[in-house]
C-alpha cells in the first residue's frame, strides 16, 4: 500500500477530482497549504510597505491506495493538474505499513477502498 501526497494549484482541484473519478479513485483527503518552490511569488503592498509573498496558496491531497492503483492515481493527478507552467506541483509517494477503517475495524487492502 502506498500513500500518495500531491501539492497542486488550488484552482485545479476540480479537474483533479474529475480525473480521479474517471480512474475510479473515489477517496481522498484535502488540506489547505502554502508552498514555495520555483514558482515566483508576487508582491503585495500594505500601506506603502512592500511585501514579497513567496508562500503561495496550494492544496495538499492525500490518497492511500493499493499498489495496483499507484500509477493510475499518479496519472490521474498529473492529467488534472498539469498546465505546463511553473508551480504545477509535486507528487510524493511513501510506503504505507498499515491501514484501518475506523467504522468496521477492517485492515490492509480492504480498508483502503
Amino acid at each position: 500500500m502506498k500513500l500518495i501526497t500531491a501539492y497542486i494549484q488550488p484552482e485545479k482541484l476540480n479537474d483533479v477530482k474529475q480525473e480521479l473519478y474517471k480512474a475510479e479513485i473515489h477517496k481522498m483527503s484535502v488540506t489547505n497549504a502554502l508552498g514555495c518552490g520555483q514558482q515566483k511569488g508576487y508582491h503585495e503592498s500594505y500601506r506603502g510597505v512592500d511585501m514579497e509573498v513567496n508562500l503561495l496558496k496550494k492544496l495538499r491531497i492525500e490518497i492511500a491506495v493499493n499498489e495496483e492503483f499507484v500509477k493510475k492515481t499518479i496519472d490521474a493527478i498529473v492529467a488534472g493538474a498539469r498546465t505546463g507552467n511553473i508551480g504545477d506541483g509535486k507528487i510524493f509517494v511513501t510506503s504505507l505499513d498499515e491501514c484501518y477503517r475506523i467504522r468496521t475495524g477492517e485492515t490492509g487492502k480492504d480498508a483502503i477502498g
Partner: protein, 459 residues
C-alpha cells in the same frame, strides 16, 4: 414661499395630475405672492428649517446606503475580490460626487428645456439663491446620484478592470443619470425663468422616490455591464449549466441589507424633502413592503429550491424596497404589502431567469433587484392608489408609467451598451484571466482582504 415649497415637492400627491400642474403653479405662486404677514413669514421660516433638518438627516441616511451596498456586494462575492469591491464602492461614490458637483447637478436641475438642463449651477458656482431648501437639496440629490452609480458594481464584480470602472463612474454621475433624471425630476427645483420641468414630469409620470429614476437606471446599466463583460470564469459549465459561486461572508451581506433598509428610511420619506405628516406614512409603506418582500422571496425560494435560501431572502428585502420606492407616498398600506410581496416573488424568478436562461452572470442580483423590481414597482403603483382623484384611471396612468419605465430601459441600457463597449474596445473592460483566478485584490490592488485567514480557494 411655503406655498412654493409644498407645491413644488409633491406633498401627499396621491395622484398624477397634480404633478403636471406643479410647474405652472410655481410660476403663479411667484406672481401672486403678496407681502406675507409677520406670522406667515415666521411660519415659513420655521417650517423651512424643519424641512432642512429632516432632509439633511435623510440625506445622511441615503449616504449610509453606500456602506450597505459595499457590504452586500462584498459579502455576496468571493473573498479574493473583497478589497476590489470595496474600492469600487468607495471610488464610485467619490468620483460620482465630484462629477455631480462639476456637471451632474447642473444637467439635472440647472436651467434648460424639458430634455436637458445644464444652463446653470455648474460646480455649484451660481447656486446659492436657488431655493429655500438650498444646499440641503444639493446634498440630498448628490447621494441619490451616488446610489444610482453604485448599483452597477455588484453586477460587474469579480472580473472588471479597476480603471475602467472609475471611468464608468464619472460618466454615470456626470451624464447618464442626470440627463434621464432631469426628465422626471427636473421640475423639483426651479429657480424661475429659464428653468423647465422634464417631459416625463409633464406627462404625469409618477416616481416619487426613484424606482425608475434611480434604481432602474442603475439596474439596466448593470445589465449592460454584465452582458458586455461576460460571465466569471467557472460560472457556467461546459454545457452551459449554471454553477454556484457562493458569497464568502453572508453575515456581512446581511448587515449590508439592514443598513440599506435603514438608509431607505432616508431615501423614501426623505424624498418628501419636508418635515410633514406624510413622512410617517411613507415610512410605514416602505417598511411594510420590505417585510412583505422578505416573506415573498423566502416562500418562493422555499418552493423552488426546497429550503429558505438566505441570500434570496435578503434580496427579497431589497426587492420590496425598490418596488415601493415609486409609490411609497401614494399607495395604500395593503397596496404596499402586495407590491412588496410580489416583488419578493419576482426577484427570485428574475434571478433564476437571468442566471439560467439568459445566462448573464450577475453575482449579486443587481439587475433583478434594481432593474426588474424597479420597473415592476413603477407600474404596480397604478393599481393601489390610496386616495385616487375622482377621475383617476389606473389604465391611463399605467400607460404613462409604461412610457416612463420603458424610456428608462432604452436610455440606461442603451447608454450602458455604448459606454461599456467603448471602454471595452479602448482601455479594456475585463481584467486578465490570471488576475481573475488569483483574485482582483492582488491583481489590481496588491492587497489581501483577510490577511492570515486560511481560505480554501478552489474556484
Amino acid at each position: 414661499m411655503l406655498g412654493l415649497l409644498t407645491v413644488a415637492f409633491p406633498v401627499a400627491g396621491w395622484c398624477g395630475d397634480e404633478a403636471a400642474a406643479a410647474v405652472d403653479t410655481v410660476a403663479a405662486a411667484a406672481t401672486e405672492e403678496a407681502a406675507p404677514t409677520p406670522l406667515e413669514a415666521a411660519k415659513t421660516e420655521l417650517q423651512n428649517n424643519i424641512n432642512i433638518v429632516f432632509t439633511c438627516v435623510a440625506a445622511f441616511l441615503v449616504f449610509f446606503m453606500q456602506a450597505g451596498f459595499a457590504a452586500v456586494e462584498a459579502g455576496f462575492t468571493r473573498a479574493k475580490n473583497a478589497c476590489n469591491i470595496i474600492m469600487k464602492n468607495v471610488m464610485d461614490f467619490s468620483i460620482g460626487t465630484i462629477a455631480w458637483w462639476v456637471i451632474g447637478f447642473a444637467i439635472m436641475f440647472g436651467a434648460g428645456n424639458s430634455y436637458f438642463g445644464g444652463g446653470s449651477h455648474i460646480a455649484a458656482s451660481d447656486y446659492a439663491d436657488g431655493s429655500s431648501l438650498n444646499w440641503t437639496f444639493w446634498i440630498f440629490q448628490c447621494v441619490f446620484a451616488g446610489t444610482a452609480a453604485t448599483i452597477v458594481s455588484g453586477a460587474m464584480a469579480g472580473r472588471t478592470k479597476f480603471t475602467s470602472y472609475l471611468a464608468y463612474s464619472a460618466v454615470i454621475c456626470g451624464f447618464i443619470y442626470p440627463i434621464s433624471g432631469h426628465w422626471s425630476w427636473g421640475g423639483l427645483f426651479s429657480a424661475g425663468e429659464g428653468f423647465s420641468a422634464g417631459w416625463l414630469w409633464d406627462a404625469g409620470f409618477l416616481d416619487f422616490a426613484g424606482s425608475t429614476v434611480v434604481h432602474s437606471c442603475g439596474g439596466w446599466l448593470a445589465l449592460a455591464g454584465a452582458i458586455t463583460l461576460g460571465p466569471r470564469i467557472g460560472k457556467y459549465g461546459p454545457n452551459g449549466e449554471s454553477k454556484a459561486i457562493p458569497g464568502h461572508n453572508i453575515p456581512l451581506a446581511s448587515l449590508g441589507v439592514f443598513i440599506l433598509w435603514f438608509g431607505w428610511f432616508g431615501f423614501n420619506p426623505g424624498s418628501q424633502t419636508a418635515g410633514v405628516v406624510e413622512i410617517g406614512y411613507i415610512a410605514m409603506t416602505t417598511n411594510l413592503a420590505a417585510a412583505a418582500g422578505a416573506i415573498g422571496a423566502m416562500i418562493m425560494a422555499w418552493i423552488k429550491f426546497g429550503k429558505p435560501d438566505t441570500s434570496m431572502t435578503l434580496n427579497g428585502v431589497l426587492a420590496g424596497l425598490v418596488a415601493i420606492t415609486a409609490g411609497c407616498n401614494c399607495v395604500s398600506p395593503t397596496g404596499a404589502v402586495i407590491i412588496g410581496f410580489a416583488a419578493g416573488i419576482l426577484v427570485v424568478l428574475a434571478v433564476e431567469f437571468i442566471d439560467k436562461v439568459l445566462k448573464i452572470d450577475d453575482p449579486v442580483g443587481a439587475v433583478s433587484v434594481h432593474g426588474v423590481c424597479g420597473a415592476f414597482g413603477t407600474l404596480a403603483l397604478c393599481f393601489f392608489q390610496n386616495a385616487p382623484a375622482e377621475d383617476y384611471s389606473a389604465m391611463s396612468q399605467l400607460m404613462v408609467q409604461l412610457q416612463g419605465a420603458g424610456t428608462m430601459f432604452i436610455w440606461a441600457f442603451g447608454c450602458g451598451m455604448i459606454l461599456f463597449n467603448l471602454i471595452k474596445y479602448t482601455i479594456g473592460l475585463r481584467c486578465s484571466r490570471d488576475e481573475e483566478i488569483r483574485g482582483l485584490d492582488i491583481g489590481e490592488h496588491g492587497n489581501e482582504a483577510y490577511a492570515g485567514f486560511q481560505i480554501f480557494i478552489s474556484q
